[in-house]
Structures are given as structure tokens and as C-alpha cells.
Symmetry: D2
Subunit: 254 residues, 4 copies
Amino acid sequence: MIKVIIAGYRGKMGSTAVSMVQDDPELELVAVLDPFATEKEAYGVPVFNDKEGLVGIDAQVWVDFTTPKVVYENTKFALENGFAPVVGTTGFTDQQIKDLESLSVDKKIGGLIAPNFAIGAILMMEFAAKASKYFPDVEIIELHHDNKMDAPSGTAIKTAELIKENRDFKKQGAKGEKESIPGARGAEYDGFRIHSVRLPGLVAHQEVLFGAPGEGLKIRHDSYDRASFMTGVNLGIKKVVDLDHLVYGLEHLL
Amino acid sequence: MIKVIIAGYRGKMGSTAVSMVQDDPELELVAVLDPFATEKEAYGVPVFNDKEGLVGIDAQVWVDFTTPKVVYENTKFALENGFAPVVGTTGFTDQQIKDLESLSVDKKIGGLIAPNFAIGAILMMEFAAKASKYFPDVEIIELHHDNKMDAPSGTAIKTAELIKENRDFKKQGAKGEKESIPGARGAEYDGFRIHSVRLPGLVAHQEVLFGAPGEGLKIRHDSYDRASFMTGVNLGIKKVVDLDHLVYGLEHLL
Amino acid sequence: MIKVIIAGYRGKMGSTAVSMVQDDPELELVAVLDPFATEKEAYGVPVFNDKEGLVGIDAQVWVDFTTPKVVYENTKFALENGFAPVVGTTGFTDQQIKDLESLSVDKKIGGLIAPNFAIGAILMMEFAAKASKYFPDVEIIELHHDNKMDAPSGTAIKTAELIKENRDFKKQGAKGEKESIPGARGAEYDGFRIHSVRLPGLVAHQEVLFGAPGEGLKIRHDSYDRASFMTGVNLGIKKVVDLDHLVYGLEHLL
Amino acid sequence: MIKVIIAGYRGKMGSTAVSMVQDDPELELVAVLDPFATEKEAYGVPVFNDKEGLVGIDAQVWVDFTTPKVVYENTKFALENGFAPVVGTTGFTDQQIKDLESLSVDKKIGGLIAPNFAIGAILMMEFAAKASKYFPDVEIIELHHDNKMDAPSGTAIKTAELIKENRDFKKQGAKGEKESIPGARGAEYDGFRIHSVRLPGLVAHQEVLFGAPGEGLKIRHDSYDRASFMTGVNLGIKKVVDLDHLVYGLEHLL
């Protein structure tokens, strides 16, 4: 049984994390933290308004879905008090992450700071990066709801960067190919193309297509719901207890 | 049993048509025509070099995969001699098609001139056109081998035209959406988007995607091989014998 | 502007219908009905507890998402009072539907009773039925969340029935094909196969795959959310005002 | 420039390999072997009928697409004469492979024996195995032409075995789920399901689907043509020259 504290338990992500912990027989919720909570007890465990009250409590992991303002102090506090942090809150500077890594090494405590807990998306990117070593011909199609303002999506651009790092450069498409309507061939990035589809009903989806003589390989990720992040948080909790330093990015635990 | 003449039996399409006719127990090959053939017999039937030799032969259907130069005269000859033409050769002027339609009405003989015999592609276009009446939010993704010079493909443009005729105009996408790399959102046609993917290994494929709150509808056609046209030629042969006039476009027989 | 009454406005479907009507500038909500409502006004319109209070109100359409117990009386009342009913509630006997059809003809009032308002699913079935006329080789893959108890799904079976009505019977697959693990080839229905996938994260999806020499055609419907039914309810409201009798099944309005 | 001998150059795979080598500016064909060839020269290089004639020739790699009868002797000969073997011929006993591995270690020569050169299929299996560690809910859909006699396919079974080795056992599907038509839920293997689709027009395709709360991950491989194997043969040639022992299975070079 891994004993878990959840900081920011009243927010969307925090409360979803509470449910996830309580549904897993290998995890035990022992305390929750929120500076503005008025209740004394929630989900059967004590509520704290101030992190100092948690010094000495019997717990191994500190899950943090709080705010950019407090997350650095929270994570530092967790490491100093022997709780391995699993942090989904954003807002760290590069220097802060370096400091926390150093601190974790000194304290020999594991930890995870992850800007993205969607294991499926991380696997898609990792698989795409690997496939591009053998199949340099690739295109990305990302599909999102039609309220999205930017194109291509952040995930598509991150995938493209990873592909660029892994494949030999190739300018794809027929020499002298022509667009009879501009934009048909999509956005060009490092010689390959990215296409952004926007339709009502869609949530967040991406396909990475590889082609070679006589074959094709496609990797598709569909994200329907924020519940998907909890698979990653759960994995993080179970992995950090066996680590002796803090890592940045869930991909380092896969 | 429908008795069939095949004109242009030594070309790629013509010889594929011979196999298709011989494999179908409801069809019987009775003669083949090619001005440059030197053999007297082929596939167990007599070979003709000159169409005049076919006057009076016992046949109902004239399949034509010849050349733009002779196809108009061939089709006229077929109608005049009581053979219902099924023509895949291109090269007619609009006036010639009108003349042949008139002639067919006079003679009360069925016929079919079809620029495209791929039933699957025709159904995809028909379904897309119908769906766009109820789902005005649509995007087209067409995928071809990477030697293709033009984008979007002819089929994509024809599909887009049919959608335009059937849906109420809608300028899709978020108001003020931005491309961080130009072309990401694809080619704009009548307010919707077309994306052209080019990869080795692909042949000719198209997806039409519709989206509405809470749902999506996708129609995909894959064309791997010219064999696919024979399903349409077979259908044409069986339909023209029951028609009393010539039609232009296989869609009129579906 | 079409004036609309919504019966059962406090239920899940009813309240979603209220939002849909209020979001459409061509529709106007004029009254809502629920026997147990305690408020006098909701969404800016009067609330009624008893349908009798609605006699003489200025409205063209009666949307009904109530209960099996009252829906027959409600629909009869609507027809008798000049409101074209659009009914998503289930629980009619065959005789009741016949009686309501007769009544609508007498009154020359349009109406719609629909067990399924998902236009996308209805189009998928219609397209599949049509394609099966030309492509007798077909398989269905339906994919649902892993709490679903029955396999194949009701939609898959309805699709299969429509295909059966439209294609010539064909026993598909290689003669003498063998399953090394039983069930690999799926459920057999009229000579073709249906496959049921169950995974967490999925909602309700179906693919109908057609194959012929050299080509493939796929029709896929994805249903993520009950919001999808509203496209059909909206269409129903706009169509019934031009009808002079009641129809059963949204497909008759497509 | 890597100098290459091709044994079995007149077979389907051998002659495809000749084209591949000649199209790659980093490779040079230096000799070809076939016991029954009557020509003295082919593709601009000398033809040998007996492998003994190749002793001392300046080459680094021996590509072998011959027959089960001679492949063991060929591979042994290659290792003994300093040519790194890349072998696609089947028919080795386990003991023979062990002997060749030992010999390669003694000689410090690289080599590859691969039952499957389709990199795309190998990557699909590797990615599926890895994803199953994090997503224990999985189903496999494999799709082949309708002349295939066995179901599930060999690739599907191999994929299933790899998944079994990597995930914790899980009996998937709803407790008490019912098939109204037997086989709907597919073949059961280690608690998950495999579905085999058979349609004309298809070649060899496979999808591995993973599901978790709120998300899905799909890996699909399409194999259209034997040309696809050449990407793997090419990779093998370039990798074996840097190895100091023989490996069995292309996956060890990815």
C-alpha cells in the first residue's frame, strides 16, 4: 500500500486524482490539502489548509495539482519532508526544475514533474519517433474540435520535433508537385507535412502515417476526456517510490 | 446469358474485361475486335480487325476500351447495329455525347458512357453528398502515392463540388483561427478544407469526415488496383440490356 | 420561426432539447410541461403541470421526451390540438402507432415518432444497405465500452438486417477456412460476419467494411455523446411542420 | 559502398533484392549465384553456379534467398569466407542456428537470419508489446483477403504472444457479457480478443487497439506487396557489416 497526500484536492484534476487513488486497492489516501477548504475532513481523511501541518505524517507520495504560484514551494517542501512528489501543476522555471532535481539527489527521494500525463499521447510520440528511423516518409494528421484556435496542435508540433531528431532529413512529395488550391499539401515541417482537421464532435486525436514501398504504418491516439490523465498519475505514484531522484517528463518512466 | 463483344481486347482494360466476362457465368464472350490483331481467334472466340465484320452477329452488348480516335464511330456503329454500348474510352465532345443519346432514343437501345467505372468511388461521392445535407461540417482527406503531381486529386475536387451542391454554405473552423505553419488547415473550398497526403506505398484513397455535436461519420474508399473498375463494367453490361437509352455516368445506374 | 412546446423538459433528453431549441434562431420555445415541476416559469417561458392547460396555445410542434406511461396520451393530445408531435419517448404498441398514424391523416397534421434520433447512425445504415447491392462482400465491426453486456450491438444487428434485405445472399470467406481459436471469424449472419470489440474509453462506434477486387469501401460512425441526438430532433421539428401525416422512424425524413 | 553477393538471384525475392541493391547508391552488387543459371553475366556482374567460385571475391555481404536444402551450407560458407550473411530463406533447425551463431562469434563476423523482413510488421508488434504494459485492455483486428484459410493470422498470434509476455493478465469484457450470435466477441487469447476479417481486395493488414478511461491508442500496419520486405533487407545489409556475431530476427537490429 502506497500512502498518498493530494494537494489541490478540490480542483478538477485534484478531485479526479482523489477518485483514482480511492479506486486503486494498492493506494491509500491519507490526507488532502487546500488553503481555502473549510471542511475538516473529506473523503474520510483529514483536510489541511497549510502544508506545514503535514510534517511528519506517514505518507510516501505527494500528488500536486495546485497552482503555478505555490507549486515550487510545495514540491520543495515534499522533497524536504520525505514525500516523493508527483506534480501535474505547470509554472516552473528551468532553474527551479534544476534546483528540485539537485535537492532530490541530495535527499535520495524520487519524484516526477510532468507537463503531460497522457500515457497514450506519450507512447504515440515515442513510437512515431522510433518508426521514423526506418520509415523516413511520414505525415501527421491531427484532428480537434472546431473551437481550437491554433494549427497545428502543440502535440503535433512536439511529435514533429521528435521525428526530426530521429530521421534523416527528407524533402517528401513528388518533385515539382503543384497545389491547385493553396494549402492542400498541408504545413511543411522539416520536409514532411502536417494536416489539421477541425470538426464539431471531435475532441483531440492524432494520426502519424508512415509509408514505404508496399506497406504503411499508422499510429493513432484518441483523447476523449481528462480521465485519461489518471492512468499516468497512477503510474507516476507507483514509480516514484522506487526512484532516488526526480525526473521531468513522464516519458522517462515508460 | 448476355452475349458480349469486346472492342480493344488487347489493351490493359480490354484484356481485364475479357477475364471478367469469362469468369461470370451470366455473361458470354462472342467476339473481340482490334484493328492490329494478327490472330484469327482469341479466348476461344473469333477476332475481328474491322467493325464492319460484326454486322449481324448475335450479341447484346458492345464493351469498348479502344482509343479517343475511334470511340465515337464505334459507339455509333454499336447503336446502329443493335448492340448496347458500355464505353470506358474517353475523348467524346459534349456534342458527340448528345448525338449518341439522341440516336439511342431513336433506336430504343440502352447504353453507358462512363469516365469512371469505380463503383466504390462513385458510392463514396454519392454518400458524401447526401450526408452533407445533414452534416454541413465536413473535411476531405485524400491520400495518394508520392509520385502524384497535383493536389488535391481530381476525385477530391469532384467530391467537393458535389458537397457544395448539396449543403448550405458554411465557413468552417474557429473564428480567428491561426496557422503557425502556413497550410496546416489545408486547401479551402466553399468554406471547408481538403488535405492531400502523399506517401510511398499508398495507391489512391480518400476519406470524407463529417462532424456534429457528439458524433462523427466517415466514408473511406481505398483503390488498390485497376481490377476495381471491372465491378462497374460488369454492372454496366447487366444494366444496359434493360435500358432504352444511353446514359452518361455510372452513377445513373446505381 | 417555429414555435415549440417541450414535454418532459426536466429530464436529460428534454433539457438538452430545451438548449437546442433556444440556440436555434429559427425555433422559439413557447412552453414546457412536467407534472412534477414546482416552478411557474423556466427558461423564460411558462411551465405547465397538466397538458390540458396547453389547449389553444400558439405553437406548431410538440417535442416529447416523457415516459412510456404517458407518451401515447400525450401524442394523441398533440395531434388533436394541432401540434405536430416529435416524439423520442419509447413504449408504444404497434396498434398505438397505427392509431396515431390514422389520427394524423384525419387531422392532416405531420408528426414523427423515432426510436433513434442519431442521424449519423441512420445514414450509416442507409449507406451500408445501398453499398451491399453492389458489394456483396461485407463485414461489420462494432466497438463499444467494456460494460456493454450484449454482443453484437442492436445497431449492428439492425444494419445486418438491412444488408440482408439488399444484397444477394453470399456465404463469404474461403471454402474450408479454419479457426485455430474459436470465434476468430466472428458472428455469422446471413453468410457474413460481425465482430464486437469492447474496450474502456470507447463509447459507441461502428464500421461497415466492403471489399471487392482491387478496392474497399468503409463507412464508420462514432457516437460520443447524447448531444448527437439533437441534430435529429432539430431536423424532425423542421420537417414535421410541412408534413400532413405522422411517420415512424427518422429515416423517412432523410 | 558495401559490396554485395546475392544467392538465389533468379527467384522472386532474389530478383527484387537485386533491384533494391542496384537502386541504392550506398550498395554495390558484385556477383550473383544460382546453380541453374545458364548466363555468364547478369545485371552487369558475373554469374556463379557454384558457391566455391566465390572464395576470395571482394565482398562484405552475402544476401541469401535460396532454398531450405542449401541455405545452411550457404550461410556456413559465407561466414567461413568472410561474407556477413543476410538470410531470408527458411528451413533452419534450432541446432543449425546455434551452430551458425557460434561460428560467427569465432569468426567475429556479423550476420542476420530473419523469418520476417517486414520492418513495419515488426515495429507494430514491438509497439503493441510496449503499449500493453500500460494499457492492459487490448483487442486485435487482423484483415486479410478472402482466400486465406487460417484464422487468426500468424502475425496476429505472434502479436498476441508478445502482448501476453508484457501485460499483466486481464480477463477483459463485462462480467456476464452474452453473445446473441456465437463468435461475436472473437477468439479469446489470454483474456483478450482477436477478430479476423476476410474480404476480397484486402491484402494483409492488422490493427491493435488499446483502450483506457478517456482514451484510445491504435497501431495499424498495412502490407500491400512483397516490395515491403526490401526495406528490411536493406537495413540488414547495412547493419551486419558493423556486427561481430550473427543474430536471429530483424527485431534485434531495430
